[in-house]
Symmetry: C2
Subunit: 264 residues, 2 copies
Amino acid sequence: MTQNAKFQTGEEVRLAARRGELTGQTSGMAPGYAQANLAILPREFAEDFEQFCRLNAQACPLLDVTPPGSALPKNAAPDADLRTDLPKYRVWRDGVLIDEPTDVLDFWHEDFVSFLIGCSFTFEAALLKAGIPVRHIAQGLNVPMYRTNIPCTPSGIFHGPLVVSMRPLNPADAISAVQITSKYPTMHGAPIHLGFPDKIGITDINKPDFGDAVEIGDGEFPVFWACGVTPQSVIMAAKPPLAITHSPGCMFLTDIRDDDLATD
Amino acid sequence: MTQNAKFQTGEEVRLAARRGELTGQTSGMAPGYAQANLAILPREFAEDFEQFCRLNAQACPLLDVTPPGSALPKNAAPDADLRTDLPKYRVWRDGVLIDEPTDVLDFWHEDFVSFLIGCSFTFEAALLKAGIPVRHIAQGLNVPMYRTNIPCTPSGIFHGPLVVSMRPLNPADAISAVQITSKYPTMHGAPIHLGFPDKIGITDINKPDFGDAVEIGDGEFPVFWACGVTPQSVIMAAKPPLAITHSPGCMFLTDIRDDDLATD
């Protein structure tokens, strides 16, 4: 039994993470449940960051925002605790990574606002269901992610380039993947690019900025989607005094069903 | 004023063709009106051919079929005459092209059955409307078309390879074009391939089997759609004693609005 098949629901993944039994990436887990990127910021930056997400909705589709101090995402998973329920976190001080813990109880502040942002792992379930192989899942790797030369629309201190995730696909599957992911506008939607990495500022496809490199076969394209790691990259650039994100690939599992996010 | 802008409706194009004033290709004409491929066959082959169209619906989406002897397509254009209203025809005897007249009054038989088949020119209007440039229209050329190594599903004497039309697009436009053309399932729908012509049996992209070659720019893909010239290629292979088709690119203009063929 693979690690992926062990967890059938979002709650099972969260509880395993809470117990410290799951500390790695979540791609392919709890099929049918929406996965989310996490960003936690001090209250004073929350308004600008929320605006940043709205201005860059393809990269940062907001699923839930908590009131200050609350670690409970009411819309996404009313039984969850955002301080413990992700496999791995990243803690940033002045834009510098200072820790990568498996919970953030020790870092918690009463003025933290938490943002849950849609994740491409969600539409991967739809791709697999349609018979489209997803390379990094097949290889048990984290999805490769890259900083591009495409600037996000800035808001307050938040600015920086769009980050993308990449999946290699043959042309027929790439066409189907455009059709399928277009139905998930709150999960990054359609690809933003395919085929020419250098045109979006990616100089070496074999050296992702986040995640793992995967092989691109003969007759395949690299296909790029806007990625929820974008806010993490932006937080690194904005250098708020303190911020917490998920560790790339180690997502928050919601109770939201993928099907409920599809437009038809 | 360009030739394309001269005609605002399907009827205007048909009347110009009927009068012999229009004898060339129709791409981009009467924007918003569906264009159609024509195939005319003796009654004895009609059933097998209709079945061929249904089995290969992406290449041969049927818009209308006339009763034997009738040149009037009731569904597509109730005032039309299929013997005179296309700019140019091709007449085939035993699979060999014997004439390319501007009307087929002299070839008409009382047992002819006419088939109107959806055409990619229809979705080109939707592409242009979305700001996606269509190279062959911009250059005033006929769309390039290629025989592939993809076999159609045979029916009776009708068999042969899928023919595709090609438009060069940059990645962002290719992604949008997949989204847009997916909404026109009766107009060939989404592309069947992009990027690797050799994978579908096209050895020289600069030498189309029908139509004109167009330039593929730096950072562009060739994007391929199933093409309504497929039945013409199939008729050449099946060698019925007599058959009539449109001349490639010289389509029948219907009264059907493109919008009425979109799925949403």
